[in-house]
Symmetry: C2
Subunit: 448 residues, 2 copies
Amino acid sequence: MPQTENQEVLEQLSGALASGAFAQIRALLQELHPADTAQLLESIPPDQRISVWSEVPVEKMGEVLTEVSDGVREGLLEIMDTQMLASAVRSLDVDDIADLAPDLPDDVIADILFTVDKEERPAYDAVLSYPEDSAGGLMNIDTTEIRATITLATVSRYLRLKGGLPEYTDKLFVVDRDNRLRGILFVSTLLTNDQSLRVARFMDNDPIKFTIDTPSTEVATAFERYNLISAPVVDDDDRLIGRITVDDVIDVIRESADHAVMVRAGVSEEEDIFAPVYQTARARALWLGVNLITAVIASWVIGQFEHTIEKLVAVAVLMPIVASMGGNAGTQTLTIVIRGLAIGTITKSNAFRVLRKEFLVGGLNGLIWALAVALVATLWYHDLFLGVIIALAMFINLIASAAAGVLLPLACKRFGIDPALASGVALTTVTDVIGFLSVLGLAALFLV
Amino acid sequence: MPQTENQEVLEQLSGALASGAFAQIRALLQELHPADTAQLLESIPPDQRISVWSEVPVEKMGEVLTEVSDGVREGLLEIMDTQMLASAVRSLDVDDIADLAPDLPDDVIADILFTVDKEERPAYDAVLSYPEDSAGGLMNIDTTEIRATITLATVSRYLRLKGGLPEYTDKLFVVDRDNRLRGILFVSTLLTNDQSLRVARFMDNDPIKFTIDTPSTEVATAFERYNLISAPVVDDDDRLIGRITVDDVIDVIRESADHAVMVRAGVSEEEDIFAPVYQTARARALWLGVNLITAVIASWVIGQFEHTIEKLVAVAVLMPIVASMGGNAGTQTLTIVIRGLAIGTITKSNAFRVLRKEFLVGGLNGLIWALAVALVATLWYHDLFLGVIIALAMFINLIASAAAGVLLPLACKRFGIDPALASGVALTTVTDVIGFLSVLGLAALFLV
């Protein structure tokens, strides 16, 4: 139901944009959730973005900025002056400001720090300095601390005095005099137990916690695995410095999933669908350049067998089948291995078993498809011997593709390269080269 | 920190498994979180799984079963008898039982329903009958209901009487006499306000809610967008029938992200890395068969130009470069478009603009790489005219690949086919065919 509602508002907005009804646009934007406004901005071209953006209420601008992709954000930041930016960003949580910080001019950050309470400033300074992909960069500083020795009634009174709780407060942090984390008290425990008893009796003394340098992917795995809503972040002396909440973790999960898909295709997950043509072309050109080099290598291999092709044109006709099947079978293996490495089911200790299994799968599928392609080739050219050669080449290439599918991502990981980025290109180079080489090599040896 | 701890336990377990130290294995499994046990089971071969599984405490088995992939789960279910299965599954939440239900024997489900409280049985029956990928299948029935007319103090007393709250209870559901949803009360509001005031004063009258048939992807989008921890599910008469919690939504997000990566490579996200070889080979064979057909089509195109190749072998050497570049450029466009369709930034109303932009990007990159490949061809064969022909073919193929990258996913979506599944294969068929056709056709026309 919520999505359908959005779709309607978005369509009304498109209509209003087309007819230039700015009063209506302003009214609609007033209603719209920042995440929906972000989606709207991403789905319209840059010139319309400027008109829409100027109608977005300033108090919503900060949140919209955190929701849009990097590419779109840059364009929006460009058309805002320092003062407007500072007032849009100031109201955000410090973890969101930290996300935006790399894109903000220094004077905006200075302006924001200037207006923060003196006692909070060191915390702000610290959060802004942590890398975005660490627990420090993900965390917020809106922790609610209590002591172990007080009663639940006192905690309840304290919370009523505060008058509100930050979003995602499912637990309170029990700290000692030196702000060291001693445990956590679940809000549900507070709500459902005898108010005259003390916190110490109910608190969990060994909660899951993170240090500022825990990588954000590890934080995400822990949240997913242990079903967390919030978790404390401590420094090296176990002092509580912030907390991470599930909404930011969901963003990490979504972004890393997006990244995994996009990086394999040689595009950025932050690409703005309406970025200027030259900018998009440039961003994608590097990937195509790398591919050109690998394609030329494969062609060079073919070039070594010109004599064979001249004598027997059929091999030139059939060789792309062998290369293509190797690429596809190898990609299947590769995808399974990259995922296994990412979620941790494939490790050093079982990698050899995986390799052995994929070899056998490659061999079995190699046999089946070798027979199929042999049939095709024999029927096509009425030449059984040609069919046998193509079949042999297919078998060789599917075995090789299994090996490449397992070993290339392991090698990437070993050398600290993202397997999703590099091993796809490397794999198709291997399967093309071995595919062409085996068809043409065998043909040169036995047919011409 | 949490991941490192796991890694250690997992390594200790591997050691214990290798040496057959079952007492140690039992002790380690007693400690291990079900999600970690699931990961362990996935990363060891099937024969070892049986020995480890028999040492897992029965009270943890149910949760482990919900965490492992389908492939691994099947193997585990096979070695459990009805009684053991029923006692493992009985303690789970009904939404988790619903997830497992398709894999459970009928007598196990009958056994579980038999032991459920009479008044809860209709709710169980209902949840078990909803499709897994709908709000009905995702929801649990552990809602906490209150009335609008009572005071916060009464709510607090009621909760203490209950003695506990279900996990992820960030809000209570305000219902009327007929169980119709009137609003929600946040637990944090309850905690931080004057206890003598009534619920009606604080409740949110228009909460985000789902009906049983809301698709789970829409539920996930809403949770992500509006930062929810839990949300009510209502029937057509607005009667409260359950709630969805963020942990299950994270699973949906992760699974659909996994699915998107895996389906494009022609593998299943549920593939067990240690499934029997013939089973894996069979599962992957269909994809390879489809690819063989497309590869044969591309070859058939080449076959129409045997005469040209005989006369000018160079075209057989260079044509894979043009096909491969088209495939890569097209995949870039395709990936951007599939994602835009999935997150909703590409719609009917802006599809034409996207097409126009991708055409321009394809044209620009076509120009650049046409020049590059012309240079390669001319230097290689000392034949400028050959270089011009290859360059022209490259330009044509990159323009075609841009069109195919935009139009194929749109067409898939139009006909209700998952764009991630079908459009990759279709794209490379198009770029191979047009790549070969343009190189060979132009060569036939102008060179031989």
